[in-house]
């Protein structure tokens, strides 16, 4: 009797402490981000500075905004491949509307407002069509959004008449765009201290190089979008239903959730956050570009996966996507500062994605192990 009890105990003794593994799988991406920051701070001169951190945050906004909507879609076990070009479509539409209105004699403020509105609105269209195809026609998300990838790409280039950018934005308009896209709510300037809203125009060139943006507008706008959609996903009935659909579409239907309508709204949300990214891209670079989000599409999916969202649906959160986006942005900047060819960034991000999936599997394996005890 005593012997068998002892052997039972030995069998149940896990190889590693389960709580430790759970902690690791849940927060490894946070730790990894921290590790990266520490690593680049130690090895790269100029990495550890407010100026650089604010630039990293600004860089991350494009991927981050796209990954917010993508998180919703991936939680329902879908994927949206079209949002890269939705960013471009939105950027181009905004630029054209602003240009044409300003050229027609409208106030710059009015032209900008109307442009932003048009850019956000147009981004909802591919989202809506994606949603209808996935929910009503039952086209697999990969295929539906791949089709939309081509359509939106074509539409964006049609709007620029095949050019790489929308031409003819007035200098006044570009100045106004830059004020927000490259502006900050709060600056720190040596000898001036903290300055709100606007960089003083009479700075010496040496001073300009030392200006730190403490609260860049693109970061503030993105933070607001993150908070709103993180709240909806984590705390509201809509968010809960998103997880239910990801867990079991059948269960969702039988429990009376309007799955079709929900999926359509989610793809529209995905288009919407890509639209915000497109508008913001225009404000930052003052050029409406069809390919503005092309390279960021796969990065946004990567950010979602690195953040622990399960590609098979049912699991994940916005904070994960935020951390994933930051990891990618830190890698981009850090490798440049270390003077390593930026091509390496692709390889490193690729490796990190694979690690993320492995960690996810480790977690599932652990859960199975626990449920068998």
């Amino acid at each position: 009797m005593a012997l068998s009890t002892a052997s039972d105990k030995a069998k149940r003794q896990p190889i590693v402490d389960a709580r430790f593994v759970e902690f690791l799988t849940k927060s490894w991406s946070y730790l990894f981000l921290l590790g990266l920051v520490v690593f680049f701070s130690v090895t790269g001169t100029g990495f550890f500075s407010v100026r650089n951190f604010s630039s990293i945050l600004t860089t991350s906004t494009l991927i981050m905004l796209m990954s917010i909507g993508q998180t919703y879609v991936v939680i329902t076990a879908g994927i949206d491949l079209s949002i890269g070009w939705t960013v471009g479509l939105s950027s181009v539409t905004t630029a054209r509307v602003m240009r044409d209105l300003a050229a027609g004699g409208a106030d710059v403020e009015y032209a900008m407002l109307a442009g932003v509105f048009a850019g956000l609105l147009v981004a909802l269209i591919p989202g809506l069509v994606n949603g209808l195809l996935v929910a009503r026609v039952k086209v697999p998300p990969f295929i539906a959004t791949l089709g939309m990838f081509g359509i939106v790409r074509g539409a964006a280039f049609l709007l620029t008449d095949g050019q790489q950018v929308v031409r003819g934005l007035s200098a006044e308009l570009r100045e106004a765009l830059r004020g927000i896209g490259n502006g900050s709510l709060l600056y720190h300037i040596p000898d001036h201290g903290l300055v709100w809203f606007r960089q003083p125009p009479d700075l010496e060139p040496t001073q300009i190089r030392q200006v730190s943006q403490l609260l860049p507008y693109p970061v503030l706008i993105t933070a607001l979008v993150v908070i709103v959609f993180a709240f909806i996903l984590a705390r509201t009935k809509f968010g809960r239903h998103t997880y239910v659909i990801g867990g079991s579409e059948e269960a969702a239907r039988r429990s009376g959730i309007n799955v079709d309508r929900h999926l359509i709204i989610i793809y529209v949300i995905c288009g919407f956050t890509a639209g915000i990214a497109g508008v913001l891209h225009l404000f930052r670079f003052t050029a409406g570009a069809p390919q503005a989000g092309e390279a960021a599409l796969l990065s946004s999916v990567a950010a979602v996966v690195i953040g622990g969202t399960n590609l098979f649906g049912g699991e994940g959160d916005i904070m994960g996507a935020v951390v994933g986006s930051l990891i990618i942005a830190v890698l981009q900047t850090g490798l440049v500062i270390l003077n390593i060819d930026s091509i390496w960034q692709f390889i490193v991000v690729g490796v990190v994605i694979i690690i993320a999936v492995l960690v996810n599997q480790l977690q599932s394996a652990l859960e199975r192990l626990q449920s068998n005890v």
Partner: protein, 256 residues
């Protein structure tokens, strides 16, 4: 015996040339566990779906609690208190017990008196209450269902039906995917439903389960009810003979 709570009379359902359910009369009384038995294709599932509203029978009527529910949509029939627990349980295994008991009917509260958020602690508390009532013990209510055993998940599905005031529970092969100790737990749950005066229709292939909990065995064959036997008179042998059809055809008929 008390008045029947469910009465199906003359129910027929065809699929093309196939008669899946053929002029069936079927009754369930309060607090009774009725086993519905039969071979594959005997018409059990079709009959159940005619009751739960998934199928519309071509003829016959279904009366539940005094009301004609024959051609009502499934959602209406559910809201009258007929809960069907399918084999796949229709649970979201990525969520916890509270979320699953309130699936699709989440309770919200106002954050700062303004923003509607899901009231998870309330739902967990309510879920815990109904689990206690059914004497179900789940180690942690914050666990995702994927971490629970098959029997515990079945219990959650039953608890959900109970919480939403089920008046009749239909269970399709509830023990099929479970280990022996888990099967016992589910059978105990069925008994506690009966003690709560809630009737259960149990579809099962497992003779042991049926003999253990059913008060009455209704046996179907080729779309018809061929036998209706009280527990006291039932033996495994009699049941099997009705299922394979040798009771009708005489002792010596060999069924292959």
């Amino acid at each position: 015996m008390s008045e029947a709570i469910l009465t199906a009379s003359g129910v027929s359902k065809h699929f093309g040339g196939l008669t899946a359910v053929d002029n069936v009369d079927f009754e369930v009384h309060p607090g009774e566990v009725v086993a519905l038995l039969g071979d594959n294709g005997a018409g059990k599932s079709t009959l159940i779906k005619c009751i739960s509203g998934v199928y519309r029978p071509e003829s016959g009527t279904v009366i539940f609690d005094g009301a004609d529910i024959t051609h009502q949509p499934p959602a209406d029939i559910r809201s009258r208190g007929i809960e069907t627990i399918y084999q796949d349980l229709a649970l979201a295994e990525n969520l916890d017990v509270g979320a699953n008991v309130f699936l699709g009917k989440e309770v919200t509260r106002r954050l700062f008196g303004l923003l509607p958020v899901t009231d998870d602690s309330y739902m967990r508390q309510e879920a815990s209450g109904v689990l206690d009532e059914l004497d179900i013990h789940i180690p942690s209510l914050t666990q995702k269902l994927v971490n629970l055993s098959g029997g515990q998940r079945q219990a959650v599905a039953i608890a959900r039906a109970m919480y939403w005031n089920a008046q009749l529970v239909i269970m399709d092969e509830p023990t099929a995917a479970l280990g022996v100790p888990e099967q016992r737990k589910v059978l105990a749950l069925i008994r506690s439903l009966r003690e709560g005066n809630i009737p259960v229709i149990l579809i099962s292939h497992t003779m042991h389960d049926v003999m253990a909990v059913a008060d009455r065995m209704v046996i179907m064959r080729r779309g018809r009810v061929v036998a209706d036997i009280p527990r006291a008179e039932a033996t495994e042998e009699i049941i099997v003979r009705h299922i394979v059809g040798s009771a009708e055809n005489g002792e010596n008929a060999v069924m292959i």
